[in-house]
Amino acid sequence: MSDLYREQIIDLYEHPLNYGELDPHDFSYEEDNPLCGDVIRISVRLDDEGRVAGVRWEGEGCAISQASASLLTEEIKGMTLEEVKAFPKETLLDLIGVPLSMARVKCALLSLKVLKAGAYGIPEPEEIRGEDQQ
């Protein structure tokens, strides 16, 4: 049995937590991992005190990136925006709880990268287009 794919990871891959769209939201951000095509969007709604009142994610990709998004979104519920911005990557890696190669660390941290980009209000990258693409 593979170390990487412990039961919890596969369970979360099959039955993700907090999956779907969130409208309205206070911020929403999407990014992909160009290496493997993993893509994740996270949307967050804050309450009057500025704490995470609602969070949803959608996307597709490998079991590690998808399980990570479920674990992360579960963990940040009730956190302030400042806490979200400061969320340590070590905490997320601990939650995933399996040894990861460098390439897989990228998969595991994609959700956190997306969450922080959204929290900081970074604009999504724009496509450079030809004039009259058909």
Binding site: Y5, G37, D38, G61, C62, I128, G130, E131
Partner: protein
């Protein structure tokens, strides 16, 4: 008779345990091939016995280095039946060759309203340089579609090639489907409307006999590292008249005849396009790779890969839930791309790696192709001169194990 066991002895890297107790099964040659010791030794000899800058020194070592560098060019020219070594330009890789054509020929000849025809199954290297050119010049890019089977839809070719088409650039072999496209026919069709034909041969030159004069193409590009050669060296073949008219791509040493404070006179072919100290060891290594493949015989290489591909496609099609991409073995090179619903390609590759099986997972630098198929990624096993049926069996067993772990 092609003796795969004898060929395997030439590749030192294959004889290792990639994890403790787990022998390497390398099925990722389409991304980058391994190197036979003949290639490694040729570069070693160069560095140990003849390294000096080329085209510059009067001394003995520079003479030796120049002879080895230019000798490799002559053998590479013969390998693809180019009429003249001066039509063989050393570049870094197929990507740089395509950028050179798009920049030098494209910027000179493309104007607003012109059309550039590509296909939907191109590698990013044969998409982005043209998108950049079209954006700069206000030209239009059109894409010849592929069919469900992963073949170019030739029934639409005549409607996509018009008198506005100035360039038709296409792959000779898809890096995802493995489809061998009818390159000769496509070149002819381009010429009928007065367009130039650019052939991305990055996947075909390593695996099939290629003859640029029989193809009658205007440009053809490939990379050394996919054909037993080193990284950092690639080839642009161009029709002599076109190369003569084109402005230089990069400026610097070696690409000039004379420089004054007012300007410069470009060098003659092929050096006009080779600014700066080139990848000398790379060129010598690619020369040795061409010698190696020629000694095996490209017909034999192709026949061996057809045998392995056929074997692999049959075995993989027995795997429940696995969907193969692309046409049957007879119409493709040594590639088996597949998806398994419920099991992401990245996870497949990771689990296969635990069994020592190296495959590629992702979009293989062909995102538009995957978008059209409605998938974000695929898994790809690719084969070369050293691949055995035993290795294919290990691939299939490992895929079955991955499915079991994911409860499929």
């Amino acid at each position: 008779m092609f003796d795969v066991e004898k060929v395997r002895k030439d590749f030192p890297i294959l004889h290792q345990e990639v994890h403790p107790g787990v022998p390497l099964v390398f099925l990722d040659s389409a991304a980058s091939s391994q190197k036979p010791r003949q290639v490694i030794e040729a570069m070693d000899v160069y560095y140990q016995e003849m390294h000096a800058n080329v085209h510059r020194g009067i001394h003995e070592l520079s003479e030796r280095a120049t002879n080895a560098y230019e000798g490799a060019r002559e053998r590479i020219a013969r390998f693809i039946n180019a009429p003249d070594p001066a039509t063989i330009i050393y570049v870094r890789n197929a990507t740089e060759a395509l950028n050179l054509v798009a920049t030098s020929w494209g910027r000179t000849n493309i104007t607003a309203g012109d059309e550039i025809l590509l296909t939907e199954m191109e590698h990013h290297a044969n998409l982005v340089p043209w998108q950049m050119l079209a954006r700069e010049k206000g030209a239009t890019i059109r894409y010849l579609p592929f069919t469900e089977e992963g073949k170019l839809d030739l029934s639409q070719l005549d409607s996509f090639l018009t008198e506005k088409t100035k360039i038709f650039s296409f792959t000779a072999m898809s890096n995802v489907f493995g489809t061998i496209t009818p390159a000769r026919k496509l070149v002819e069709a381009a010429h009928r409307v007065g367009a130039i034909a650019v052939v991305d041969a990055a996947q075909s030159v390593p695996h099939l006999p290629v003859d640029v004069q029989a193809l009658d193409c205007d440009f053809l590009v490939f990379s050394g590292h996919k054909m037993c050669g080193p990284t950092g060296i690639g080839i642009l073949y161009g029709r002599r008249e076109l190369l003569e008219e084109m402005p230089p791509y990069m400026g610097g040493g070696d690409m000039i005849r004379r420089v004054t404070l007012e300007g410069f006179t470009p060098n003659e072919l092929p050096w006009k396009f080779e600014a700066g100290t080139p990848a000398i060891a790379g060129a010598i290594g690619l020369g040795a790779a061409v010698d190696y493949l020629s000694a095996l015989g490209m017909e034999n290489v192709h026949r061996h890969e057809q045998f392995i591909t056929n074997y692999a496609l049959e075995a993989l099609s027995e795997v429940n839930g696995l969907r193969l991409l692309g046409p049957p073995a007879a119409q493709k090179g040594g590639v088996a791309s597949f998806v398994i619903p419920g099991l992401h390609p990245h996870d497949i590759a990771q689990l296969l790696d635990e069994d020592g099986v190296a495959i590629r997972a992702g979009h293989h630098c062909a995102m538009p192709l995957h978008q059209k198929l409605g998938i974000s990624a695929s898994a790809r096993a690719s084969f070369y001169v050293h691949t055995t049926t035993d290795e294919v069996d290990k691939l299939v067993a490992s895929v079955e194990r991955a499915k079991k772990i994911f409860r499929l």
